[in-house]
Symmetry: C2
Subunit: 554 residues, 2 copies
Amino acid sequence: MAHLSDLEIANQSTLKPIGDIAEKAGIPADALEQYGHYKAKVDINKIDKKDKGKVVLVTAMSPTPAGEGKSTVTVGLSDAFNQLKKNVMVALREPALGPTFGIKGGATGGGYAQVLPMEDINLHFNGDFHAITTANNALSAFIDNHIHQGNELDIDQRRIEWKRVLDMNDRALRQIIVGLGGPTQGVPREDGFNITVASEIMAILCLATGIKDLKEKISKITIGYTKDRKPVSVADLKVEGALAMILKDAIKPNLVQTIEGTPALVHGGPFANIAHGCNSILATETARDLADIVVTEAGFGSDLGAEKFIDIKAREAGFEPSAVVVVATIRALKMHGGVAKDQLKNENVSALQDGIVNLERHVDNVKKYGLEPVIALNAFVHDTEAETEFVINWAKEKGVRLSLTEVWEKGGQGGIDLAQNVLEVIEEPQSFKHLYDLDLPLEEKVETIVKEIYGGSKVTFTSKAQKQLQSFKDNGWDNYPICMAKTQYSFTDDQTQLGAPSDFEITIRELEAKTGAGFIVALTGAIMTMPGLPKKPAALNMDVTDDGHAQGLF
Amino acid sequence: MAHLSDLEIANQSTLKPIGDIAEKAGIPADALEQYGHYKAKVDINKIDKKDKGKVVLVTAMSPTPAGEGKSTVTVGLSDAFNQLKKNVMVALREPALGPTFGIKGGATGGGYAQVLPMEDINLHFNGDFHAITTANNALSAFIDNHIHQGNELDIDQRRIEWKRVLDMNDRALRQIIVGLGGPTQGVPREDGFNITVASEIMAILCLATGIKDLKEKISKITIGYTKDRKPVSVADLKVEGALAMILKDAIKPNLVQTIEGTPALVHGGPFANIAHGCNSILATETARDLADIVVTEAGFGSDLGAEKFIDIKAREAGFEPSAVVVVATIRALKMHGGVAKDQLKNENVSALQDGIVNLERHVDNVKKYGLEPVIALNAFVHDTEAETEFVINWAKEKGVRLSLTEVWEKGGQGGIDLAQNVLEVIEEPQSFKHLYDLDLPLEEKVETIVKEIYGGSKVTFTSKAQKQLQSFKDNGWDNYPICMAKTQYSFTDDQTQLGAPSDFEITIRELEAKTGAGFIVALTGAIMTMPGLPKKPAALNMDVTDDGHAQGLF
């Protein structure tokens, strides 16, 4: 079993027609828009509403670069609920296409805990990212055309914040000059491309509660500033209708299935660093309308994705999560205990002892949101019995629920204990609260996150960031939540500081006003918004058979 | 009736479920991949083959900028056959998305002769153009990455012919510099974006006979030259498998329906100037497998689209058209007779008399391919009886079949006479021939087109083009057909020369080797491969209703 690749396991699985999955999920036939035999979009206006289901959030400890299997646990946990005959759906992010050409690595779970059809989900899926790319770049074209045609709004072409995007790993597009070639080719200016998942339109699609709200959020995007530094919005350009129209199908959640036939809504995929890193509110809410339990995930650890899930997504949607699963692995714990990457396969209980502080802080963070954590210790083949036992005992002493999960190898069956632990938690009363109030000043909101969640002692704003704070206040942008952009590998802004450092300082280098999505990004360190390809890209091993099947995708 | 817009007529039409249309077309259920309720992709490997149907090509006289309704006649003629109980399909090109944001104007027919659902076909349709954009730009990323990672192939970054594309009207991207920002951001070089329909990958998708052929054609694309001027192909980069994989769904023809329920395959849309301007071979051949009569069109007039249809598409596919419809309008005839644009609505029989030479040459051109022309005089509301009568009498004297078509106003009923004329022609034996043999030297192929079809007397190659001719011969590229890039408004390379000029000279400014698509583009004059937006783009009037319906699209 363990010898098969994810794609091989996926290919061996027999998919049910998507109409059967929809029926199981309680989606009426006229709400289902099929995209081929195994994918569909769901017209949310045609769903029968029932009492809202409970939300189980899956987060993780600070990960290793290889990841700790958070998506895999999310899928496997939903399959476990399915095996326990619970009415469950899983709500996941859509993977980006571009990065698949670079380095192998899926975003649809792994082993026997995957969503299918994986080759379609990892390629164009139902066109959502392409629609977002198109809307983003249409806005760029409208901006450059406005300037070229007389610049009535007096946009300063040196202060355009809006960048073009492609769903591609393409470093050559990071910094470019456009509009060359003389007066008929537009106005020369510096520009650049981000990867599509970094587009504010992606974040908006994921935070919108419907088409009307989508259009309103788009109209509020700040595209740049006039020559006297007044913000210019999409509403000033009067193109929010056209941009929302481009997204009219992309806003509908996508229905697929897990290997075990659990209904899955896979929709939206904003960056977890410069955006909030959660699937769409519409998918989560639609799943809640259909199922009693909705399992979903947020990018990176409790310091990043979970914090944004709580303070941005759940606040915007107005729901409360009922339980939080924290995924941990022996190898990540050892890494946080100081073990070098090439030694992670060797037994090392004393390193575990040193590294467990990282997991402890993530668990404590969950409690700060008034929620009860359940640790999912995600089994890997090199874990030893002594190591596993150490973590189990530590959790017992700490008084935190822990389940060993083997969903990669066994599917839902490997997550039954976790599901039972979560079922206990969601029956208990929780005392959910957001970390901060929106009416605090921006810098105090940042400080709260840094001190309460990261364990830091101080926040420094560079002089650039201080100037931005002042101008954001002048623009009336003080009431937005904060979206921190920080390395996922450390609680600090330095990715080499593992474990659970304390008494450290975080420097906010720069801010970005995402007035459409409705949050202020606080950037720590350098954040890469357009990846590059490696010397030997995965694309070299990709192919398609004569009858149309993808090969080498994963 | 005539007061409704195309979108209003489209919205008033009741669509049949696409499964019903497929059944009518004889497409088995397991070959149908639904995309929503009214669109589908067709898995051509699951179609039962029968005797191949006959191909009716719709072309036109030299058009006015507003167009003469060629798509409308193509759709209306297929509906007329449908009304006559013939087993018919229509095979059309897909419209580009980007230009819809600029100036109004559909590409799905008009009035009561449209393919539906028009708002989806004019937006993302089934994702084909997005897949082509992605494959095109992945190749660009692979090229820049190859150079950045050491440039093993010794690609000269000043001689990269491959450009990036977007399905967008965006003049600021015509000439750009990429790779700025220092050593970690790639290698700076000049680049530019074309509109997606201008991508060689679009032309390849339309000329491929299957996935294997698609991959082979992609592998032969010349992306640029080494520092010692040897051509570099996709095969050298070893990414043809990955690029073909990206297109695995885009290569499947899309099934939709006309307002009257005639099955339509709408697939592919290469530029009619720098590419061959016809829908895909796979769609046309699939339609021939299913129907007895296939109505299809080619871009612009008999000098451009039809010539390329005969000498590039039909040659590559190995079929012979059975009849050619030449669409003419009173207003275009008057324009060719010297009437100014703002006077075209006034009766002017003597201008018709002067302008009819344009139609005459198009009709004669069709005969040069050994085919029998049928003129479709496409009625417009300002045509007078005297004008219509003049054209009818001229055709009678000339001995050419002519039908008055009123398909815009009446749908298929307005094309019955045309259908009957075409039925007579396709029963007659034709003596089809290509215009030139492939083994002629490139310059002689160009000369044949200019002298036989355009009516010119001489071809001049600039010194740049002469050098290219020599290097193309050295590279063994002499055997490809020619794809002329010329204004559609005139038989000459000067768009102000209307009517039927003779004794003129054509200058070939430059050549482009499309070794993947398999033709050599000969450029006359300046050809725009990335359009711009007007001062008040159509996007300003676009919107989407709260329940997801597009507004202001046309």
